[in-house]
């Protein structure tokens, strides 16, 4: 009973401190909302509005309709060119990203026996988006040629094309990039709030000397840790509600799976991140160090979580490292539940990993947190 009272007065103090500090409140609620909005719109793997230029040396009816087929989609933005320019020069001078050269005689070859030739020159410096842009251009051209051949000679089409591949996209028929990114952002927000803020808040007590005052009290170290972490646990879960709500309202992403299951996983995951927060605070002397230290961990955790790039694309050694990154598993869980609506049984492996991870990390942090000063 008494120990509960002790805890309650501690939690009350934390909330009072938070309520007194408008900057902190902004950091807790406004910043995540802005982050979700900016990142939700900015972080996209889709490639749109790619600058494309055509050098049409054929000037035929067919070549014009090929060019037209590119103007019907928002993936491309056609940049006009003059005859005097050279294809590679356009890329060199940042005027265009992709150049398609249609040689003279293109239409004639399409009708005749020779195979028509097209040259696509693209700028590779953007890596990721260059690869996608390239794939789009090729897809666009292939589709065009299919339609063209089909309309000309249905019989030829069948013989040449051979196979018909029907593709169905499950869970995300429109291939919305948001659907993948937004749950990822929520996972990152949860990690930042719980880990970074708890580390900084403990480091602050250390820096100001109030921790010492707590250490001479008969309060058990478990009470101290619980009192310090409980507010951040509550706040992070609250933040998550806000984020999920915003995702629904602004990005039209509805939760496919069960809400309680998502909360259960989040609660389990928070033990790991809060444990890491304590661990960081025991290793630093000031708020600034806590900030840098946790920030450093954040970056590595995010990069190796599969947020931007799927873990399965990575080399074997790094996939091994990713296994020990709690964010990887939480990222999987939140995406599975939000997008696919997976249930607890389908996520049993992640449940086991997150449970044991939380147990180990939190336990270790508690042990390394000493009720003594250095």
């Amino acid at each position: 009973m008494t120990s509960l009272k002790v805890l309650a007065s501690f939690v009350l103090k934390e909330f009072r401190q938070l309520a007194r500090s408008p900057e902190m409140l902004a950091v807790l609620f406004l910043l995540p909302a802005i982050q979700l909005l900016v990142m939700g719109f900015a972080v996209t793997n889709e490639v749109k509005n790619v600058d494309i230029s055509f050098f049409d040396y054929d000037k035929s009816h067919l070549s014009k309709s090929l060019i037209e087929s590119f103007s019907s989609t928002d993936r491309f933005r056609i940049v006009p060119v003059s005859e005097a320019e050279h294809p590679e020069e356009l890329l060199f001078k940042w005027k265009s990203k992709v150049v398609v050269v249609i040689p003279a005689g293109f239409e004639r070859d399409c009708h005749g026996f020779a195979k028509p030739v097209l040259q696509v020159i693209s700028d590779g410096i953007d890596g990721n988006s260059a690869a996608l842009a390239n794939a789009y251009v090729q897809g666009c051209i292939l589709r065009f040629s299919q339609v063209m051949l089909q309309s000309r000679d249905p019989g030829l089409m069948k013989k040449d094309q051979g196979l018909d591949l029907i593709v169905r996209m499950s869970f995300n028929n429109d291939l919305k990039s948001n659907l993948n990114i937004i749950p990822g952002i929520i996972a990152v927000l949860v990690t930042v709030s719980s880990m970074v803020l708890s580390a900084i808040s403990l480091a602050k007590e250390k820096e100001l000397g109030t921790l010492e005052q707590l250490l001479v009290s008969p309060m058990h170290k478990y009470q101290l840790v619980a009192g310090k972490l409980l507010p951040y646990l509550i706040i992070t879960l609250l933040q998550m509600q806000v984020a999920v709500l915003l995702a629904g309202i602004i990005f039209r992403i509805s939760l496919a799976g069960s809400y309680p299951v998502l909360m259960l996983f989040s609660l389990i995951y928070l033990f790991t991140t809060l444990g890491l927060g304590i661990f960081i605070s025991t290793r630093v002397n000031s708020q600034q160090q806590a900030m840098f230290f946790s920030w450093f961990m954040m970056v590595v955790m995010i990069l190796l979580s599969g947020f931007f790039v799927p873990v399965q694309n990575m080399p074997k050694v790094i996939r091994g490292i990713c296994f020990f990154n709690p964010l990887t598993h939480y990222m999987t869980v939140i995406r599975e539940i939000v997008v696919k609506g997976s249930n607890l049984a389908q996520l049993r492996k992640e449940l086991l990993i997150l449970l044991s991870g939380g147990f180990i990390v939190f336990g270790f942090s508690l042990l390394s947190f000493r009720k003594r000063v250095k």
Partner: protein, 357 residues
Amino acid sequence: MPSPKRITAMASKELFHILRDPRTLAIIILMPVLQLIIFGYAMNLEIRRVPLLIDDQARNASSERLINAFSHTPYFQIVPANQRRLEPEELFKERRAQATLCIPVDFGSASQVLLLKIDASDPNSAQLIQSYAQGIIASGFPASLDLRPFILYNPDLKSSFFFVPGLVAMILVMICALLTSISISREKELGTLEQILVSPVSAMEILLGKVLPYIFLGLADALLILGVGMLLFQVPFRGDFLVFLGFTFLYVLCSLCLGLLVSTLAKTQQAAMMMALGITLLPTLLLSGYLFPIPSMPWLLQKLTYIIPARYYLQIIRGIMLKGNSISELYQAGISLGLMSIVMLIVAVKRFKLRLS
């Protein structure tokens, strides 16, 4: 007249601050190198080992040939058919497969239709899976068109080619804007700025002395990344090094002005840290075109990128390193950086004077 002696005194004091905090220093130096290695080795955008389940109902020579074609690429990993005969969606939820290919009973004779179902919860991968599958299926049959793709400047689309220049832009902003803004507000908070201000040191000397060590630290760090990137990942440097240094200096100047501006806006260290993070780091990461293409963003964010210094520097450094650009292609970006520096400096100095009086 700024005295070199006083500036040296300020600069060496600042240098001691940096050197006496080895943990922060280690993070500053290790962070980019670690990021570089992660980016270079782990951030592979090409999909690999996609677990593909093939439901072969035909079981004839044609279907065998097709399955062979799929299993002989690095992109797909054929998973054994399931006993429970789960629906593809259920399989995707169990994460036992990411795509399923259904070969109908009459494959090879009458019907030529194949059904490919893809788990599109990661739309990027889904799209790539689709194009790989189409490629594999098409490769066995004559194409109707001879498409000749050429990719310039980075023919293998190596990710390190664009991560290395991007990291240099990040590091410079991190050290020159973030660290300086924190270091100035720290002096304010500790009251040591007052102590310095009562001495005969001029405001100009204070600022110069404060920023000099960070300029050197930033440049050294940037060159370190450049060196590691060129050695480990064979990132080329096609342009003129002197032109590169000139533009880089301009960018450093712009970042310093930004840091100065933040420090005049923030009252405490903590606020400076938060603001620096919000104003310098995140925009550089998200809105500069480093990781995400600007043309794909919504209209408002696209306009916002015009006030992000890294946007211009990214064009400069990628242009010089990868394209071999020179001043004539990049002068516009350079002018933008210069203009932004001047505006920020004027605002910062005005606010600084306001606070002192």
